[in-house]
Symmetry: D2
Subunit: 340 residues, 4 copies
């Protein structure tokens, strides 16, 4: 059994998703849609067997299609997803799911009601390095996580209609959701954000802080005006520490045999903390090299065909937008902590 | 004419300061003081000509001494500085100047009243790489500064009686004071800080945000529980950007011919921003290799002997402590912005 | 006017060459050939307008074709090139031109006789970083070149029918030809090579030394059994030095303001050398990012249509093979120096 | 029982050796000697208890001394070592032992005859990273070693009276002696060297190739005219590979789970090699941080006091000079292979 998939939107991400649908073991590319005739012509030549639509809603209405991939601009996500679910299709939508929590909640409820899969393309969760990082954390290699520090900066393409938080932070927030919330059961309690706009009206630099129960803290630096492209996440745990450097040409994940050992010592009937450091080998684990989007598509197919779980399912997509929206509110309110 | 100097405290920094006093062109090491007999014996062997005291106040009372270097624990700075100024000595004190703004203000006023130099050993300001960075910014190489992002993290020695802000942030805050306040006239308006304590009661991880007029922002990450030692400051300007990496074995300063060019374009009578990127050569300027502490001592001597200015004078030292104290208050108040 | 081109061989390099022929400003992709029906089908779908041949000689016989690109295994280069020249076509052939100096000389003479362009795809010469390196050297930035040290190593794909010299060294030898012979007029005088075969019969590790007039020396390390992929060329000159690191994710070319200054000093009527070092800024020049193969194709078109020069023309291709063949002879003769 | 040691020569290495003698658990610094009154005064202040001599031979004649450390220029090594052995002292001499094989052989024989320890200060053998590398190889982590590639280059201090081989290669040749000859029993059979002198008469750039039995090869690049300081040794084995980067600020030793697997496969009654690659984790082992010279001195003491073995004993020192002298002969003979 395989999933008949239509891809809507052939701009930047759409073609890569279409290619992986076409080459997927359990997926068939049966239709494509784009408003631009030149894009339609280009991909008709590449996938001559696929039906071609100039409108996403028309593709959605095609009864031969089981599932749709929505790779259109953010402001269209909700309308297209709603229509696709109403037509009984499974949906994989580009990240973020929708521009507001209210819309996401509506879509999540809709998907549950009709019993269809709604999944978000948080691509990084399917990258070999992130899967390895997740595997290590889930296996207990780090012990209990103490903090996560993420940096995602570059001299980047300003997005005309959004700020750097909505553009870059979904990547890191989806990873936080996977490794802290899904894996360790940590619930984010508040978000604070500070940012500045040096050009125009949208923030091009922002720092997000996310507070969890206990002393767990996550911090994300996103920036479109930085001289050196950096994509780095540092995670410290009680047993080990880990750095993921997504721009490193080799050894993107490094596991450090470093930790702080603390003991309560009874010194003349007054307890005192004895803090010591442990450093040891550094290991760069071998990765499997599998393309992230291939994993996105195969996970989507497994969810639609057999109900298998996905790290970027509808609830995860909603949780990510909750944090983005809270950060936006904090920005507008002088960095006040916004409860979740 | 040369300055007769006594050094109080022969622990970690004192010996380095004493060595540079002894080898300075305009300074003579005439006395040393330490409570520990073993330290006194060690440095008596090294500087047999210097008088030796077991008490800092006794050294201060020595009429043959023009100036004292105070390299003792933070809680003793105010008392020793006060005594030295009262005895008519010039004072170079380890950073930070004192643990509170109130004490710093009192010492600054005292020094002005008695007409003596009070200078703080913000050593990094005298490092060749920081001097080069300052020279580039002061010369206009970056244009107007947009933001400063500082990272100072490592698996470090927990200080038993203070938190990571008071331990590590003085370095970065003193550099911010030099390149933003002294050089560009930018006044810090508020400070916000978030931090956590994973072991014991003092924060081992903290993020500081400092707001200036206009859209200028500075952010400092200090951390004792990080796997990779990092000392990096990134500065973006309207014309160029700069990265200072103090752990790089070569090329610690890099100047990037990168910037954002923005133009207001009249599009059918509605103005629209046209944002473009410029990237170009990267230059790692040659540094002079001079030891930072030699510069500290020669600047101190020039200030004491001839009234020459210093980037870490009493007012600068006070401004640094103002920011540290405000950060501490913000920490205690749920990261609220504390006005300066 | 544009050049009608047929591409023979659709294995590894052929498809990239075909794509650049198809998108070239002065070239048209009019025919493709491959023995494998699956490859033909794949590229027919991509270039539906191109004629398809199952045999290179049949493509060569097509009178509508002005020029052929030969991207077939090395042992077929001579026969196909010979046939194409005989049919009056211009030829761009994969590197190296042919497996022996004798065959290369015959092909060079043939091309001259029939007045057609014969060019070799020494791709690296057209890479932005190599063009920048060449521009700097040709412009005198380095002064007189003292030596070139090249390292091209990795855990690589053993070639079943050749050794590491014929596989990897053509890249570096073609660059030496450009920057030393073409640009500076330096003539290689001898080659020495040492190598070992740890698996099977072909050398998987080799060091080549190439001697030029004066004290100019080039050295090339090629290796299929190395843990870290390295592609680095260091060039020292009398005025400056340069390092090209083709695996660096950023700043692949670095120009060092470093040199040795030497002066003859008359010391008590005996001359003595006074040697001093000069170090200064390091500059990473901005590159233009243009794809190398686009430059190969446009240079080929310019040569065929207007007789413009090429850094990898037939004579250059021959000079490269002369050095490879001499290295092979040296290997067989206990590393003896083989004159050129 | 402890060893009473005199140090002759207080130039560059002498003071470091004296400091480690003074702080050694089994050594006492009892005397120092230097021809320069200023150096004598400086170290008298530091070691007021030590006897001071203006002449090495006078120190050697002192009956209260058990052992001497000779840290004088190379041309004096033989005379001073000879005198010290004749006076019944144990000797630790700076590397290389002496400028010729003949002199080394004489000194080795002399030491054996008088039953005294003669050890060479091949300091790198005692560095924590080299000890770890040796431990891994001796423990079989790499399997059988296939080749060693060493690079030791920088913009360096030209030595006025020697070439770059005698200046820099002793380091790498002593490491080759330890890990190939002492540990794996591999005997060097021939040496070939090529070099050039761009300034003056001594070679400032040289490549050495050392052939062993089987297909084992070592190659050393030494260079005083290179823009980037590099100290790197790559070792490939049948099971794993290792890189030692002595300039890396962290992780100087990396162990690669990379190898080539080869199998003879019977293909239609003809055997064919099936070559495959294996890559895996990369491990940077934790090092102990112990100062190399402390290990030199404690090993010397253990050899003198208890006859314990040393990796840089007289025979090792002689083997190193054998290779250097052969390289020198090869240089003079057009890179011909010189048998050992």
């Amino acid at each position: 059994m395989s999933l008949s998939v239509g891809v809507i939107g052939l701009g930047y991400f759409g073609p890569h998703l279409a290619r992986n649908v076409a080459s997927g073991r359990e997926t068939k590319l049966v239709a494509i849609a784009d408003r631009d005739p030149a894009r339609r012509a280009l991909f008709t030549a590449q996938y001559p067997w696929a039906k071609v639509y100039d409108d996403g809603l028309a593709l959605i209405a095609d009864p031969s299609i089981d599932a749709v991939v929505i790779a259109t601009p953010l402001f269209t996500h909700a309308e297209l997803t709603r229509a696709a679910l109403a037509a009984g299709k499974h949906v994989l939508v580009e990240k973020p799911m929708a521009p507001s929590v209210a819309e996401c909640e509506e879509l999540v409820a809709h998907a549950e009601r009709v019993g269809r899969v709604l999944m978000v393309d948080h691509t990084l969760l399917y990258k070999d390095s992130v899967r390895k990082m997740h595997e290590l954390i889930a296996g207990g290699a780090l012990g209990r996580v103490l903090y996560v520090d993420a940096v995602r900066i570059n001299l980047g393409l300003f997005q005309p209609d959004t700020n750097v938080i909505w553009d870059l932070a979904p990547h890191d927030v989806s990873i936080l959701d996977l490794i802290l919330t899904q894996t360790a059961g940590a619930t984010p309690r508040w978000v604070s954000a500070v940012g500045v706009s040096h050009y125009g009206t949208h923030e091009n630099l922002a720092y997000l802080t996310i507070g969890y129960d206990g002393s767990l803290l996550a911090h994300v630096h996103v920036n479109w005006v930085a001289p050196v492209k950096t994509r780095r996440i540092t995670i410290a745990g009680t047993r080990r520490m880990l750095v993921w450097d997504d721009t490193a040409p080799v050894e993107p994940v490094k596991l450090y045999e470093s930790s702080v050992d603390v003991a309560r010592i009874d010194k003349q009937h007054a307890y005192e903390l004895n803090i010591q450091y442990r450093t040891g080998d550094i290991v760069a684990p071998k990765l499997d090299g599998r393309e992230a989007l291939a994993g996105v598509i195969s996970t989507f197919a497994a969810a639609a065909l057999r109900g298998e779980p996905s790290p970027s399912d509808a609830q995860a997509g909603l949780r990510v937008v909750r944090i983005l929206e809270a950060a936006q509110r904090s920005l507008a309110d002088g960095s006040a902590r916004v409860s979740l």
